[in-house]
Amino acid sequence: MRYFRIFLLHFQNLLAHRGRSIVWLFIALVEALIYLAFIRGVFQEHSSLSHWTLPSVSAYYFLLVATAATLMTHIEVKILHDDIELGQIDGRLLKPFSYYWQNFYFEIPYRFFQGVLGILLCVGLSMVFGVTIFSPLSMFQIGLCCLIFLLAYFISFTFKMIVGILSFITTDIRGLNELLTILIIIFAGYILPINLLPGILESIAYALPFAYIIYYPIVALLGQLSVPMMLQVIGIQIAWLVGFAFVYKIVWRSVLRQFASVGQ
């Protein structure tokens, strides 16, 4: 119950500044639509590419808007700005809640709000452009899709928490963050669906965790994954999540040992 109250408090704060969330959603929308507009030109030359057609790739980019808004967390920005630069970390560490879950309940209202708006936008776009975004899935497949989304969220959140808490030591992670943003844009499937990436980059994308945050949830929704493939994706997602949880624990212990703060 106490966690639910924390969630509601953050949700209240979010609603007071809802304009910002709407702008973030527009940013995701502009990015996806620019790439889609360009890809339309590529599909003028080819009727299909690696099983993608113009309608299916359009559905991919529309779903990308909603998926990125829901699953791509930005908690590292909050940790760097509020906790480290503005010095709010002392108060947070003294609270009788785990730092991980405090941030989880801070972030989840933003993902929820932007996710809902993203879905509405995605449905609106699909109606305007006459594109089918959801394939008929069985109840079992819908259940597996939900699990893929849930795991994708936790992978994204835990990974960004690791990046965020590194700022306890370095006090500035902007350079690292910019580099990670670029890697995520390329290997999560923002520019192109992963299987349209050329040669070695496609193999690298499958070996990194980013595709399991954005690309696989979208293709699962599009009905491009069979049940065995979905189960395989879930297995790999669990492996990444366990790995990140382990790394988080080690990094957290290490940064706490080295962390020094001057009182205010």
């Binding site: 080819h46 350079g175 520019i191």
Partner: protein
């Protein structure tokens, strides 16, 4: 004329002050330098990826599209060096009432709000962009005459005015919506529109196309000079759009200032 001299003198001083700041906060400079290098490489890589399956897109060859990507790096780096850091601080200056002090100074408020900070970290992007453009021009066997370079510089400056005015117009909205500090992030994203051929927006709605039209000129017009494909419209439209947008954005700023109520006591 005296006024222009005064502003040149102030700007010369600002260049020196910003350089001193850069030397004082070196870690920040290195971080910005690294990020700019990464983004400049990303712009080229993303175009390579997007064109990996098709040698021609919207009538543009792969080499021409890569030249556009290089041109984008050159153009945007100059814009970032001169203006973007100021726009990053724009909404904060309004939200925290720092605009009060700006309005009290005997200098034009638009000048202080948009020209005070200089981002030297973006210089690396300019270098990468220039090297890549030179490489692409040699690959495409294009030689440049003095006339081409002169035309390129003129259109480049007009494009800077277009983008500056567009950003200034949008950021002026933060006088009413002071909480929207991420509006500048949306502008960074919208910048990417300029690095693609304008033909790809022709299928969009007429409203969207008219809104985007000035932005689609920004890189394309100077790039067409280099490609020696320039048409009369590619010269006239940037002149009209830059002048119109500059006047409109300045008038809008003056109009918006009437509604500024200050955040301080």
């Amino acid at each position: 004329m005296r006024n222009i001299k005064k502003y040149f003198k102030i700007y010369r001083m600002l260049i020196k002050l910003n350089f001193a700041t850069m030397l004082a906060y070196r870690a920040n400079f290195y971080s910005s330098f690294g990020a700019n290098l990464a983004w400049s490489l990303f712009i080229i890589t993303s175009m390579l990826l997007l064109t990996s399956k098709a040698p021609n897109v919207f009538g543009w060859t792969r080499d021409e599209l890569l030249l556009l990507a290089g041109m984008y790096n050159v153009f945007i780096s100059v814009f970032f060096i001169l203006f973007s850091h100021n726009f990053n601080e724009f909404s904060e200056n309004i939200h925290y009432g720092k605009l009060d002090a700006v309005l009290m100074k005997p200098i034009d408020s638009q000048f202080i709000m948009t020209c005070l900070l200089i981002g030297y970290g973006s210089a690396i992007r300019l270098i990468v962009g220039l090297l890549f453009v030179s490489y692409m021009l040699s690959q495409m066997h294009i030689t440049l005459s003095f006339l081409t370079i002169g035309g390129f510089i003129v259109l480049f400056i007009l494009s800077l005015i277009i983008l500056y005015s567009f950003w200034f117009f949008v950021m002026t909205l933060t006088l009413w919506f002071t909480n929207l500090e991420n509006l500048v992030n949306l502008l960074y994203e919208i910048n990417h529109i300029t690095r693609f051929p304008p033909e790809m927006y022709k299928g969009a709605s007429i409203f969207l196309f008219i809104t985007l039209f000035p932005l689609t000129l920004v890189i394309i017009s100077p790039a067409k000079v280099l490609l020696q494909k320039i048409l009369l419209g590619d010269i006239i439209w940037p002149i009209i759009c830059s002048m119109m947008l500059f006047v409109v954005s300045r008038q809008f700023w003056k109009f918006a200032l009437r509604y500024y109520t200050s955040a301080s006591s």
